[in-house]
């Protein structure tokens, strides 16, 4: 059981920020999720925002007795049972790394002195952890990128990054769930839908899940894209 030294701060009128040591680690993520579960069992909150090393608890009212509230949380943390294995799912995400989509592959291949094949190898080899979802609806913050293919963001962000783009920014990798602007290096595209408001659960993945990328050909990409459109595509998952 891990007991970190947490800091508690009032964040405006209606929120409390809880922070773990400033590092990205799966042990911290597990502890955050454990504590979040415990808090949500005890309190009715308006929202709960998870970050790499933090939770923001948003209350439905103006907090007047913050010391009492924080003391309650501290005690809850001390007494929490800890490391109850959260239900997490492993997802297999098809990605087409064809040059049609991977428009930055050639440039980063030169910069990293690795062939495109090697970049794809490293990108598909790792299992990534979903730390949280932010930036855009359905944008997964993934940890676990192989250090060999870490590369800084582009100096000038693109105004339009196509929906489904799979990209690398620093030591992070991610998928753009919708068209947006963005400064990450684009290496491929996934035919899957990462945010569909028509679904009961608009985003299939959640904090704590893991994913791997699987390289698919352009033909397979088109076939999966059509299945996604007709709602007949089954995401491969292991629970």
């Amino acid at each position: 059981m891990h007991n970190f030294k947490l800091s508690y701060k009032l964040f405006g009128e209606r929120a409390i920020l809880i922070e773990w040591p400033s590092e990205i680690s799966e042990i911290i993520l597990t502890d955050i999720l454990d504590f979040k579960n415990e808090i949500e069992n005890q309190l009715k909150l308006k929202d709960c925002i998870v970050g790499y090393n933090s939770i923001v608890l948003v209350y439905d009212f103006v907090i007047v007795n913050s010391i009492t509230k924080i003391d309650f949380l501290k005690e809850l943390y001390q007494n929490k049972k800890g490391l109850q294995k959260q239900k997490s799912t492993h997802w297999k995400i098809p990605v087409c790394y064809d040059a049609t989509f991977g428009i930055d592959l050639e440039d980063i291949s030169k910069e990293l002195e690795l062939s495109s094949e090697e970049i794809i190898y490293f990108h598909t080899k790792a299992a990534y952890t979903v730390y949280f979802i932010g930036f855009l609806p359905g944008f997964l913050y993934l940890g676990g990128l192989h250090e060999q293919i870490a590369i800084p963001r582009k100096a000038t962000p693109r105004l339009i990054v196509p929906k489904g783009s799979v990209a690398i920014g620093g030591n992070q990798t991610g998928i753009y769930p919708n068209e947006s602007s963005g400064g990450w290096n684009i290496i491929g595209n996934s035919p899957m839908s990462f945010f569909d408001i028509q679904n009961q659960y608009p985003c299939f993945a959640k904090t704590g899940d893991t994913i791997t990328f699987e390289s698919v050909s352009l033909e397979e990409f088109i076939s999966i894209k059509n299945q996604v459109k007709s709602n007949s595509y089954q995401i491969q998952k292991i629970q």
Binding site: A15, S22, I24, D47, I49, Y52, C203
Partner: protein, 281 residues
């Protein structure tokens, strides 16, 4: 039903937003100036969460296809019904075929047209607030027809108008609390942040307000963490950005201030070149 004859520069449907979906990265959204929306909905005896039309910088024209009670709140852009001037913050009875339009700007920038029973439109994640990628429409267009829930509401309110506090539009003081990273600033920086008049840059919208002045910043970025509407962040280049209703749920810049709800509502009525000063609570 209401027909949009002219949507103006930027008009949307807003309620009080979708505040409980940070876990899938969905912004809260909702009316920029929730204070003005509450006044309108209260006067009409609506539910406080009923949806309204948010108009940025006037210029709109609407045709009422049925007789409806409405209330115009927020920024005063000299509203008229059938070319006759009408009062802000009072219950107005619009006849079938009536035309509501706006003219000269007097105060503020965001006007709300509140309608008896509220605007009826698609509900996604418990809210009607327009947001690109969530709602089918994200901006009102010419020819749009807005349905209303007028049948459900009976106006039993005894109040038909109220005098609103002009302070809401005139004050340049924005109330706030220290943000989570405030204490990392030096003494001089804190004094500068609280003592300086800042100017709103032309980069101001529903996502955030960027301020003009450069603020000396040596703070490192933080590990991506939760942010809220009203969070003032400082970028590596020393620009202050105050996040507003459509902001992302997480961010990586130091959070130096957190505006009060009143502070957000007051800022929401300000525009390019207006000046503000932060006041700590």
């Amino acid at each position: 039903m209401i027909t949009v004859l002219n949507p103006g520069i930027y008009s949307t449907i807003q309620d009080l937003g979708r505040p409980s979906f940070a876990n899938i990265g969905v912004p809260i959204s909702g009316a920029m100036d929730s204070y003005s929306v509450k006044i309108g909905n209260q006067l009409l005896n609506n539910n406080l969460k009923d949806a309204v039309i948010e108009i940025t910088f006037g210029g709109c024209k609407f045709k009422f296809e049925e007789a409806l009670k409405i209330c115009v709140t927020g920024a005063n852009f000299s509203p008229t019904i059938d070319d006759k001037e009408v009062q802000m913050n009072s219950v107005l009875e619009v006849k079938k075929g009536g035309i509501l339009s706006f003219g000269k700007r007097i105060t503020g920038i965001r006007t709300y047209v509140c309608i008896q029973g509220g605007v009826s439109s698609e509900v996604l994640l418990n809210s009607k607030s327009f947001y690109k990628g969530i709602t089918t429409s994200y901006i009102l267009k010419k020819g749009d027809q807005l349905k209303t829930d007028s049948a459900k509401s009976v106006n039993k309110s005894t109040l038909s108008k109220i005098k609103i506090d002009e302070h809401h539009f005139k004050t340049t003081f924005i109330k706030c609390f220290k943000g989570p990273e405030f204490e990392l600033l030096s003494k001089d920086q804190k004094e500068q942040l609280i003592g300086t008049q800042f100017t709103i840059s032309n980069d101001n919208n529903r996502v955030g307000y960027r301020l003009e002045e450069i603020f000396e910043n040596q703070l490192n970025p933080i590990l991506t963490s939760g942010v809220l509407p009203g969070t003032a962040q400082i970028t590596p280049s020393g620009k202050i950005i105050v996040l507003m209703r459509d902001c992302q749920v997480t961010g990586g810049y130091p959070r130096i201030l957190q505006l009060t709800e009143e502070g957000i509502n007051i800022l929401a009525q300000k525009t390019t070149n207006d000046t503000i000063q932060f006041v700590l609570q």
